[in-house]
């Protein structure tokens, strides 16, 4: 897998870079959604995969970002690009505030609170809180991106915007992996008591994970709002969170795993759209089968990201 990874990445990036020119508009739309979901799923992975907190409410943060962009653009006339910082900060802030009181909960108890937050969020949207969210309709007809006076309305330009966001996210993930903070999350997942006994402030790092994850998901929300020129509550409901959750588990908590997870859980069903009523029946079987065949995910997280010079003296081999 190591080798695959070394050659895999450049090939992947190269393919992704030319992809929109090979696809018709429908598949361009699918590809863009793939990129958006990949970013959300990677953000979900920070909390779920890396830190081991069962979060089933990631669509909340995704939606917060999308709505932040939509509201600022439609009600206050901000250009789409200018909304990005807000679409990152608002979810991040909410991530921190919501995580504060709940990160001490274990496993399934945390799961339920995150589901609860997600449900509350959707109801707030539907009830058109403060006249801002557009009720059950959501908000339609947002502007296109504007970059240096260039109106980026075409699908291809939205694609590259989404791609840039994915690259940015991957860079963040890499930084996280090779830092004290990122490792702290891993330690917390493996054994919280041991981690605390070695000096890790569990609370702070768990909240950090939520905040970071929410910020990234919020950024993906902006891309979503750009792509559909619209946001509506059901795009961010609990079922959507379940999808992100499953993506990380099916894929395995690694970057290639998450990308593959999005492919399997989102793109494949699109390909098999012709099966119409049979689609989800078969898809359900596929999910079960995927887990049975690869219980740790298609491409499981691999540990041992340690400097090469430490590995050299392995005498006996594994």
């Amino acid at each position: 897998m190591e080798k695959l990874q070394r050659f895999g990445y450049p090939v992947f990036f190269a393919v992704m870079a030319v992809l929109p020119h090979l696809l018709n508009p429908r598949w361009q739309a699918v590809a863009i959604t793939f990129l958006i979901f990949a970013v959300v799923a990677l953000s979900q992975d920070i909390v779920l995969g890396k830190c081991g907190m069962f979060n089933m409410g990631q669509a909340l943060f995704f939606g917060l970002g999308a709505y932040a962009t939509a509201i600022l653009n439609s009600k206050f006339g901000w250009p789409m690009l200018a909304t990005i910082p807000v679409a990152i900060l608002v979810p991040a802030l909410f991530g921190i505030l919501l995580a504060g009181p709940i990160v001490h909960l274990r496993g399934d108890y945390l799961l339920v609170t995150t589901i609860g937050f997600n449900i509350v969020f959707v109801q707030v949207l539907q009830n058109d809180l403060g006249g801002l969210t557009g009720g059950p309709n959501g908000i339609f007809g947002l502007d296109a991106m504007n970059l240096f006076g260039l109106r980026l309305a075409s699908q291809v330009s939205v694609y590259y915007f989404a791609f840039a966001v994915l690259l940015f996210t991957l860079w963040l993930m890499h930084n996280l992996e090779t830092s004290k903070a990122g490792r702290a999350l891993h330690y917390l997942r493996e054994d919280q008591l041991a981690a605390e006994s070695i000096g890790i402030n569990a609370r702070v790092y768990k909240i950090f994970a939520f905040g970071l994850s929410a910020g990234i998901a919020g950024l993906a929300g902006t891309v979503y709002a750009t792509q559909y020129s619209a946001v509506s509550p059901e795009a961010f409901d609990f079922i959507q969170s379940v999808l992100f959750f499953s993506i990380v588990i099916v894929g395995g908590s690694s970057v290639p795993g998450v990308l593959l997870g999005v492919f399997v859980m989102f793109v494949l069903p699109e390909i098999f759209r012709e099966f119409a009523t049979w689609r989800f029946f078969i898809f359900g079987f596929a999910m079960i089968l995927a887990m049975i065949l690869r219980p740790r995910g298609i491409w499981p997280a691999k540990f041992g990201r340690i400097p090469a010079y430490l590995v050299k003296e392995s005498k006996h081999g594994a």
Partner: protein, 352 residues
């Protein structure tokens, strides 16, 4: 070389039977037209996309259909899905005709959108008038679910009732498909209402009515148009009797000849009645657009829409005469109030 007609409808999901009804109808009409030589010499080719009743799938469908080169799109059933797809069709100059009744559908100025049903506001005014002026209810309760359509209809009705000086004692919401409505109804019971107006779908409406009667709430029950489905009476069971439903006339009582022949053909081909009047509304929308193409002798959608909005005489339709106003709304529209009989059949008690 064919004329491509898109169908965007919920083939799966909660509204699957409505969506499949639209699809069936469009395919039947296309067959009939093709048998007569097609449109301006081109045969119709139908392309269906399943929007599952969700906005996101609808957005993807829109891009897909546009890409496949459709000239017109029939559907979708829900306002939410029609709305999510609107801008894409507008950008591509594809005519969209939907039975979605949310007022917002025609408020954005997309010339590509033609509503083949009547907007919520029309029904709301009719219903309000019936409740306040005709039945002289003093204490009115309005309930909806959270959907675009239902919430919109309920809000419009509330506004219309208030405009007529009526008294809305409670405005509530239920969660669609949640089945348990007794808590809300119990609260309403305390308000001692004369009538409960429910602006939601029949699946909830039937149960709402049953639970209303079970709780001993004496008020009348008036359901909005989406309650017009035989299952309403089945769900409400013995409680169905005496409930009112507001709608345009039902398919089986449609007095028009075209209606009779089309429904007969439909029954012959599919072995069932059309799911509801909504599918037929969409068929009328499609007929109008094709009529426009034939009259203008052109596939230029802009010209066709121009023509349709300026017709001198409305086109006779399955669901009544059809013509469009400048904003894309269907002109005219007549509503009736039906009361459910003990055997589940309807009796028209008030006609506009």
């Amino acid at each position: 070389d064919t004329l491509k007609v898109g169908v965007q409808a919920p083939i799966t999901g909660s509204y699957a039977n409505e969506g499949q009804g639209i699809d069936n109808g469009v395919r039947l009409l296309a067959e009939q037209i093709n048998a007569k030589g097609g449109v301006l010499g081109k045969k119709i080719e139908v392309i269906t996309c399943d929007d599952q009743g969700t906005a996101m799938a609808a957005a993807i469908c829109a891009k897909d259909l546009v890409n496949q080169g459709v000239k017109m799109v029939i559907g979708s059933y829900t306002s939410t899905c029609a709305e999510a797809a609107q801008k894409t069709y507008f950008d591509a100059g594809v005519i969209q005709t939907s039975d979605g009744t949310a007022d917002s559908l025609t408020e954005k100025g997309y010339w590509t959108f033609l509503r083949n049903s009547f907007p919520n506001s029309a029904e709301a005014e009719f219903a309000a008038n019936y409740m306040v002026k005709v039945k002289k209810y003093k204490r009115i309760v309005i309930i909806s679910d959270f959907s675009t359509y239902a919430d919109g209809l309920a809000n419009a009705t509330e506004a219309a009732v208030k405009k007529l000086g009526g008294n809305v004692v409670s405005r509530d919401k239920i969660k669609a498909d949640s089945q348990n409505f007794t808590p809300v109804l119990t609260r309403i019971k305390a308000k001692n209402p004369d009538v409960i107006f429910f602006a939601g779908y029949y699946t909830d409406g039937g149960q709402l009515r049953a639970q209303q009667v079970a709780l001993g709430i004496k008020a009348d029950f008036i359901g909005g148009d989406a309650n017009d489905n035989p299952d309403f009476a089945k769900l409400a069971g013995s409680a169905a009797k005496g409930a009112y439903i507001v709608n345009v006339p039902s398919p089986d009582v449609l007095p028009y000849d075209i209606a009779k022949s089309f429904i007969a053909a439909y029954k012959k081909k599919y072995g069932i009645m059309p799911a509801s009047i909504w599918g037929l509304m969409n068929i009328d929308g499609m007929r109008a657009i094709i009529h426009g193409m034939e009259q203008t002798k052109s596939f230029d959608t802009k010209k066709v829409v121009e023509y349709l909005k300026n017709m001198k005489e409305p086109l006779p339709g399955i669901t009544g005469p059809i013509a469009f106003a400048e904003d894309g709304n269907r002109k005219g529209g007549s509503y009736v109030v039906k009361m459910i009989q003990a055997d589940g059949s309807y009796k028209h008690v008030y006609v506009q």
